[in-house]
Symmetry: C2
Amino acid sequence: MANQVTLDRAFAACAHPIRRGIVERLAAREEDDDGGMTVGEATRDFAVSKPAISRHLRVLEQAGAIVRVIDGRTHRLRLAEQPFDDAADWIGQLQKMWQRKFDVVEQFIAEKREGAAGSRTDRGGSA
Amino acid sequence: MANQVTLDRAFAACAHPIRRGIVERLAAREEDDDGGMTVGEATRDFAVSKPAISRHLRVLEQAGAIVRVIDGRTHRLRLAEQPFDDAADWIGQLQKMWQRKFDVVEQFIAEKREGAAGSRTDRGGSA
């Protein structure tokens, strides 16, 4: 299980439309041999300033959601799956807890019904 | 699909250990008839000030992750699943994109292998 700081950063990385947009763009990109997408390609057309883009990239990098490979003057970005897997695991465990509760309620209702049917049968037998 | 603001709030709600702790506590609680957990029960023993707790609850409420039911002086909290489902859906779609990429790479390798096997057979046939 991921630690708390790792999870904080993973969820914070997902908590802005520009960051989700960059992540979606990197995920949608066909794999090729060039080792990722340039920063320009990954962040083009988002209607925010360059410093704002840099801050979003920093949040993604600190979360380990993207990795920056510097090749001379070209910075390339690659997506890393781990933070997203960690975030999904945490939510998945919550959803399992809900499901369990739901199952308990369903079982309770089923048992009630069986009990009611049983007592009807009993009454039938004694009649 | 959830809109951007909904997703921002859902992920931000998950991006702090105290908020995740409150959510886990509410999720773990056995269902009963009292309509949820009191604020005191849900937030007890977190080592932060009361105003900090109030701020965390506000973030969770704004995300729609918890619903507060006010009954006289008693405030009760219930967990709502939708924001967590929305967040999980977004991550799930990313994971599917990765899986597709992975499948494409696997297929490419398989085709390469078949191609290599085929050409070996051809050579065998002409010998």
